[in-house]
């Protein structure tokens, strides 16, 4: 049936059966083909990808059709029914069908699920070259050497059209993916396009086909259903292949004239567009890529060529050494191609799909298309960071391969295969993230890998010299370092270290010490994933994962049958990784398992808890939520965190045979017990873990002999005699029971056993028991009853039972056996056991964690601290019960000190040296070697503290600089302060807090460094800011709140101390804005009011015998400017004090004022109303007070007498407290700092006041 003619084409040498085993060689662009899968077989003539599954059909010259899973690399099925070569094969788009056509003139339609050929279509009269399903209609198109193209209906299994016109072999025919067209190529040197739209109309239903069948046959070769639309002439030799463009009106063809031609068509005509020259022999097959604008062709010249679809230039060539190529297939959806050749086929990719990415903390940087993108793991938001150079379509597979990121410098290194391996360095401007419009000229260089090794250093591999160049961010070489092993790639390995990869090992190399820190034999490592703490590293090879520590000490190795794609470390030290179709985990001890399956490969970037972050093949970020329970559980077991284990058992749905098997295998049968319901398994696990209680319970449930027996064995092993006995009893194993009683010395039960044996008529049992008991009479009796009279006789006589022996002897008569001679008979008695009966003492084991029930419910009782507001106040009021009256005019005469007289030396502290600016810094051109022989030491520069005081007229800054005298003078002048004693600690703290200490060179004195205020990232160096101060306004705010609180709580001395503290700090406060200055001034007034008020109240409490003075002070207190709650307390106090003293009129005034504040405390209001009622009856005052509430007044800070408006008074220049004129020149008794009535320029506490 074989044909033996040679086609009339030039230079063709077909059907040679010589098999080559050629390896793939590198093309002239020195690009490696990205081979995904390869088979070795007979010549492959036909190929077809499955549209959904990772499957490919290969039809062979030998007649076999192979079905491969190219992802797993496995042969799924083979179909061997054709006789002779099978040249065409094609998968159906949606049905489990494929079609094949061979040199046996047969078209076969197969169901791959049923593993068989469904039917055969006969009609062609010569070899069939190609077959193809229609994407919609139930049609098949076939091309044959019989010069026809046929269209078949595979449902009616008939030929519905024969397309004639070619006058030589038709080498290929295929449907248009959308329109009603067929394209064909023939050795008649033409390509034809056929219009089959009429066919479509005619075959609206399959019934028509059948009806037309007879007509068809008569109509053979004269069919009108399909007509030639265009005949494309241009090739000079036979055309082997023609194919439509998936979307555009284009056709590509390849011919024996070694040319690929591109054709365009419109509704009316078709014409040649271009010719692609380059193949050195017959072009076998040519196709458009389904996604990219490229054309792929292959040829008998043993090459595959990739062409730019627009520019029509060759992009790449892949060659094989010995194998001619025959066929191509393009996957309809994915970026994968296949080619068949003389000795098999290859499935390959043109471009890598793994996006280059780098992870740093919460940031992910990755390259997509022309952009560097940024993704924030925490917000899950992505944005463009940069526009990176477009590799251009001049060459394929030049997109970024790796990315390295330096977070501190915000710099990115992108490596690609451009120019045989090169890198680009970009610095991402801070504000550009999110805008993404910034594009910059990258710094570039050659080198196959480049990574950051420190914040501002990166290493570039120079493979030729086996060294790395260390460069700075200016792309300048800083250092060169030879490498300890022949290295073809470098990876990050911590600051200053490199992980060098060679063919079969990796080493970690310290660049500074030039030392190898670690060395490990591994399969060829593709990716390196460090754990977050840099303590562990995962080395990913094609099929292997090696986990090592940072010194490359091997921890474990995992082998995968499917390609390992990516991985990331979770926070617990579990390595999560992906293969082509799974997400899996690897525990630190090497245990691994599947987390879930994957439909499409992903590239993991980070694991955070249950969330996996990844990039897909389109460079899109995705998150996948996984169930981490299983590996967390196993990890907890591994770390012996049994509390976690327990709580996980309680709270999650962990179960299944696999988990139980795992637990058993790992030696945790006691844990497995918690998962199991099945009693037999429970029993088994209980025995394994030695948990006899559970075992007994299970045995009861199961209640079969075998389990009781096994329980008995285990109980015996544990020495649990009770359970052993129970188990034996349940199985009625009397012999064992007897023996148990024997060794336990339980003679009582042993005799019972004897009885039982007797009842059961078990002679042997009886005898044994008697033997165990040492009961001779019984033994003799048993022997006698059993008819063994001689034995009975001997037993009796040996053991001295003379009566019985004689009786037996008489019964035996002549048959009395002789007694053995020369033997000393003795009675064997059961030995007395050391412990009689009972169980062996056992250590308590394994109780608690898994049996105890670990309910660790935190019972944190929150202690609520109730504020006892006013508690002290209320109590105090009740105590006031003293009658004595005294006029409170105690005026302390303070020494009238001289008010400062140093006005003339105002500028004394300002007599400053000229500021010596540092001379211009010039770069020393000469190297360090040039030493001048005459060296003049530079004069010392100005300490920062001195610079500070030059600029400042703020006392605090002078104090911080240590210039206390100028600070004091400033305070004196600005605020009239004369008493500095209370400020001492503040001065010292300011000074101490102005410098920090840096240990620099060993044994040399430490360097003190000035601490400056208002530091920010962009502050220019060498420009001194004012000193940092240890006091700030917010601290005072805190103090104020504390003061209020203490006042509320009635802790008056504490409150007074706090308010005074505020007054004592304010002179040394510096704030920034004017508004804050006002706040400070306000704070002075507030503090002053409280200090005065509190001083009066404390004084009132001290005087017990002067009721009038008490009332007066209480009354004045109500005129201090207080917070409402405090005012209420003051009013309440005054009200009570006055009521007690029967000054009803005054008291009623306080009561009214109290009610006017709308007191929230009902008791307060009630008391006030009672006072009002009482006062109404008697609106008089028992004693006269120096207090007229109708007349506005302030209280003298020293004498505590009212200074009514209109009366003369003097003020404290600092705290503004008022005093009677006699106090002028005295130290202010409120703030304790300034002199009353002194001249002062006013508070200066902000640079904004000076500007």
């Amino acid at each position: 049936m074989m044909k033996h003619y040679t086609r009339p084409s030039v230079g063709r040498c077909i059907r040679s059966e010589v098999r080559f085993c050629g390896g793939l060689t590198v093309g002239e662009e020195r690009k490696k083909m990205l081979t995904k899968f390869e088979t070795k077989s007979n010549r492959v003539k036909g190929l077809s990808f499955h549209s959904k599954r990772p499957w490919i059909l290969a039809s062979l010259h030998s007649g076999v059709i192979q079905l491969w899973d190219y992802r797993m690399g496995t042969l799924i099925d083979r179909f061997d029914e054709h006789d002779g070569p099978v040249r065409g094969v094609h998968f159906h788009m949606s049905q489990p069908l494929f079609v094949s056509g061979g040199d046996d003139y047969k078209i076969k339609v197969w169901n791959y699920k049923l593993h068989r050929c469904l039917f055969t279509l006969l009609g062609h009269l010569d070899y069939i070259r190609t077959v193809q399903f229609h994407h919609e209609h139930p049609w098949i198109v076939s091309a044959s050497d019989d010069q026809t193209i046929r269209i078949w209906n595979w449902q009616s299994r008939t030929c519905i059209s024969v397309l004639t016109g070619h006058n030589h072999y038709v080498m290929c025919a295929s449907f248009h993916p959308k329109e009603d067209l067929v394209v064909s190529a023939s050795l008649d040197q033409t390509v034809r396009v056929w219009d089959i739209s009429s066919l479509k109309k005619k075959t609206a239903s399959p019934v028509d086909d059948i009806l037309r069948l007879s007509q068809m046959n008569s109509d053979l070769f004269g069919g009108v259903d399909a007509i030639v639309k265009y005949v494309l002439e241009g090739h000079d030799r036979g055309v082997n292949w023609a194919a439509f463009h998936p979307t555009l009106p284009l056709i590509v063809s390849g011919a024996d004239d070694r040319q690929v031609k591109l054709w365009r068509m419109n509704d009316t005509k078709a014409w040649e567009v271009d010719t692609l020259r380059g193949h050195m022999n017959n072009v076998s097959c040519v196709m458009f890529h389904s996604k990219q604008d490229i054309i792929i062709s292959n040829s008998e010249d043993k090459s595959i060529r990739i062409w730019d679809g627009t520019k029509r230039t060759g992009l790449q060539t892949f060659r094989r050494e010995h194998d001619r190529f025959w066929i191509l297939a393009v996957h309809p959806e994915m970026n994968v191609l296949a080619a068949g050749h003389d000795s098999g086929m290859i499935v390959f990719k043109l471009e890598r799909e793994r996006p280059a990415f780098a992870v740093s903390g919460d940031s992910l940087f990755y390259a997509k298309d022309r952009f560097l993108k940024y993704y924030d793991f925490s917000t899950q938001r992505e944005s463009q960071a940069l526009t990176i150079r477009r590799p251009g379509s001049t060459t394929l597979n030049q997109s970024p391969r790796t990315l390295s990121y330096s977070p501190t410098e915000n710099a990115v290194l992108i490596c690609s295969d451009v120019d045989g391996g090169s890198y680009e360095l970009y610095v991402i401007p801070k504000d550009s993230i999110g805008r993404g419009d910034s594009s910059q000229e990258a710094k570039k260089g050659l080198g196959s890998s480049a990574i950051f090794v420190a914040r501002n250093r990166f290493a570039v591999l120079d493979k030729g010299n086996n060294q790395v160049l260390i460069k700075n961010l200016k792309n300048e070489v800083v250092k060169k370092s030879g490498l300890p092993v022949p290295t073809d790639a470098i990876f990050y390995a911590g600051t200053g270290n490199l992980l060098c990869r060679s063919e079969d090992r990796v080493v970690i190399f310290d660049l500074q010490q030039r030392l190898v820190l670690g060395d490990l034999q591994t399969p060829f490592v593709r990716y390196v994933v460090w754990s977050n703490d840099m303590e562990s590293v995962a080395l990913l090879s094609k099929h292997t994962i090696v986990i090592a520590n940072k010194k490359l000490v091997l921890q474990c190795t995992l082998h995968e049958t499917i390609r390992v794609k990516s991985g990331a470390w979770d926070d617990n030290g579990v390595f999560i990784y992906t293969t082509l179709n799974h997400i899996k985990y690897c525990l630190p001890n090497g245990d691994s398992g599947i987390i879930r399956t994957l439909d499409v490969p992903i590239y993991m970037t980070k694991v955070s808890g249950n969330t996996i972050f990844c990039l897909d093949r389109d460079g899109k970020t995705k998150t996948i939520v996984i169930d981490a329970t299983e590996y967390i559980f196993k990890l907890s077991l591994l770390w012996k965190r049994y509390d976690h284990v327990m709580s996980m058992i309680r709270n999650s749905q962990l179960c299944g045979e696999a988990m139980i098997a795992y637990l058993q295998q790992k030696g945790f049968p006691e844990v497995a017990l918690h998962f199991v319901k099945d009693e037999k398994t429970r029993f088994k696990l209980a025995l394994e873990s030695g948990n006899i209680q559970i075992a007994v319970a299970s045995a009861k449930e199961i209640d079969d002999k075998d389990h009781w027996y096994r329980l008995g064995v285990e109980a015996l092993r544990q020495g649990n005699a009770g359970i052993v006995e129970y188990a034996y009893q349940r199985t009625k194993n009397f012999e064992r029971l007897s023996f148990l009683y024997l060794i336990n010395g339980n003679l009582e039960k042993l005799s019972k056993m004897l009885k039982i044996a007797e009842v059961k008529n078990d002679v042997m049992g009886q005898f044994h028991n008697a033997l165990y008991l040492g009961d001779i009479q019984e033994r003799v009796k048993i022997l006698e009853n059993a008819g063994h009279l001689p034995l009975a006789y001997i037993t009796a006589s040996v053991h001295g039972l003379k009566d019985v022996a004689e009786r037996l002897a008489s019964e035996l008569g002549d048959d009395v056996p002789p007694l053995p001679e020369g033997k000393e008979p003795s009675l064997l008695m059961p030995p007395a056991p050391v412990t009689c009966g009972g169980d062996w003492p056992l250590l308590r084991v394994m109780k608690g964690i898994f049996d105890g029930g670990l309910d660790s419910i935190g019972r944190g009782a929150v202690d609520e601290e109730e504020e006892d507001a006013g508690g002290d106040w209320g109590e105090d009021l009740d105590v006031v019960d003293v009658d004595g009256l005294q006029n409170g005019d105690v005026t302390e005469i303070l020494e009238y000190g001289e008010v400062a007289e140093e006005n003339e030396e105002e500028e004394g502290g300002w007599d400053l040296e000229d500021l010596e600016l540092p001379p211009e810094v010039d770069t020393p051109k000469a190297s360090g070697g040039a030493r001048s022989s005459i060296f003049v030491a530079p004069t010392p520069g100005m300490p920062v503290s001195q610079i500070w005081i030059q600029k400042s007229s703020l006392a605090a800054e002078h104090a911080a600089a240590g210039n206390f005298d100028t600070a004091m003078r400033l305070l004196s002048r600005q605020l009239g302060i004369r008493n500095f004693a209370p400020l001492k600690s503040m001065f010292l703290d300011l000074h101490t807090g102005s410098h920090s200490y840096l240990r620099a060179f060993s044994s040399a004195p430490v360097v003190s460094l000035a601490i400056e205020r208002g530091w920010n990232e962009s502050a220019s160096p060498n420009v001194r800011c004012p000193p940092a101060l240890v006091f700030n306004f917010s601290q005072l705010d805190e103090k104020l709140k504390a003061g209020y609180k203490a006042t509320t709580a009635g802790k008056l001395t504490e409150a007074l101390r706090l308010f005074l503290g505020i007054l004592h700090t304010i002179p040394l406060i510096v704030v920034e804005s004017r508004r804050e200055v006002d706040e400070v001034k306000e704070l002075i007034i507030i503090s002053k009011e409280y200090v005065l008020g509190l001083q009066m109240e404390i004084k009132r409490r001290e005087i017990k015998d002067d009721m009038v003075r008490q009332q007066e002070l209480a009354a004045y207190f109500t005129h201090c400017n207080l917070q409402t709650p405090h005012l209420r307390l003051a009013l309440q106090t005054a009200m009570i004090v006055c009521s007690r003293a029967k000054n009803w009129a005054t008291a009623s005034n306080f009561a009214r004022r109290l009610l006017e504040t709308n007191p929230t405390n009902e008791n307060q209001a009630k008391m006030a109303r009672q006072v009002l009622q009482a006062a109404e009856r008697n609106m008089t005052d028992a004693a006269q007070l120096n207090y007229d509430f109708r007349n506005p007044f302030v209280t003298c800070g020293a004498t505590y007498v009212p200074i009514y408006s209109g009366q003369k008074g003097v003020s404290c220049p600092y705290c503004t407290a008022r005093f009677v004129p006699s106090q002028e020149g005295q130290l202010c008794t409120v703030c304790d700092l300034a002199v009353v009535g002194a001249d002062a320029s006013g508070l200066l506490c902000s640079p904004s006041q000076i500007r």
Partner: protein, 278 residues
């Protein structure tokens, strides 16, 4: 550049970064040349000095030892006996005056250190300014910082950078200078210390450096050694917390610390100011 491993690298590094005990523990390095052995001994003895074990150094270095070791011994003598500094200084000057050995790098380094303690920066610079070793350059940087001449310090640093930009001392000196000039440079100083802490085991010196950076930028953290303690005092003050515990601890353990001295002289100066203002 590629070639022989630098045997003393980690010893030096540990010393520079303040891991003195580690330096001492790992000083037993085989196959050292005679010069390397002397350098090794110097580093070890200087580590002991840094740890305060002066007597050990004084007793172990005898008069026959090499000049560098003699110099190291002088440093130990100087630091061990604050009362009798004069005699040590004069023997130091004697050695320096000897033309045969006066130019020895270690001797000059020790001289620089001692005169820094004496606060005689002119004299210190006289011996150190010519440089010659990374250590001398680094010391120069520190002296210039001490006398508030960051311009000179920067020149020294540039020399160091030209010799070896990635040298630990270059990096350290860079950090010191960055801190001294302040402003945006503080960040760079921080990054340098951060690099160290990522690359090497954490030492007091590195921690202190980081803390100082945080400080001057008003970020606050805590740690423990004299400088850290001193900085903690400052830190507490800035946080509005009580500093007295750290201050008294520092007074107790390091009565000579600059902060203690500064604090007590500040007290005197307060009293004096009071007098002058009154």
């Amino acid at each position: 550049m590629a070639g022989n491993p630098d045997h003393l690298f980690s010893l030096r590094n540990n010393f520079y970064l303040g891991s003195y005990q580690v330096a001492i523990n790992n000083s037993d390095i085989p196959h050292l040349s005679a010069d390397d052995a002397v350098e090794r001994d110097c580093l070890v003895y200087r580590s002991y000095i840094a740890l305060g074990s002066y007597q050990l150094v004084i007793s172990e270095i005898d008069s026959s030892a090499a000049t560098p070791l003699q110099a190291v011994k002088l440093l130990a003598l100087y630091l061990s006996n604050p009362q009798d500094k004069e005699s040590t200084v004069s023997s130091l000057k004697e050695l320096l005056a000897d033309p045969a050995i006066g130019n020895n790098a270690i001797l000059r380094l020790i001289a620089g250190t001692v005169f820094m303690h004496e606060e005689d920066y002119n004299e210190a610079l006289k011996h150190t300014n010519a440089g010659g070793t990374m250590e001398l350059h680094a010391l120069n940087v520190q002296i210039f910082i001490k006398i508030h001449r960051s311009d000179y310090a920067e020149r020294q640093l540039r020399v160091m950078q030209q010799i070896d930009e990635d040298h630990t001392l270059t990096q350290l000196a860079n950090a010191w200078l960055n801190l001294a000039v302040g402003g945006s440079k503080i960040q760079e100083a921080y990054l340098i210390f951060q690099d160290f802490s990522e690359k090497y085991p954490m030492t007091g010196l590195i921690l202190n450096g980081k803390a100082v950076c945080w400080f001057v930028c008003k970020w606050i953290q805590d740690a423990k050694d004299p400088e850290t303690l001193a900085n903690l005092v400052v830190c507490s003050l800035h946080l509005g917390k009580s500093s007295s515990r750290y201050l008294s601890q520092l007074k107790l353990t390091h009565p000579e610390h600059i902060l203690v001295k500064r604090a007590s002289s500040a007290e005197d100066s307060f009293e004096r100011a009071l007098q002058s203002v009154a």
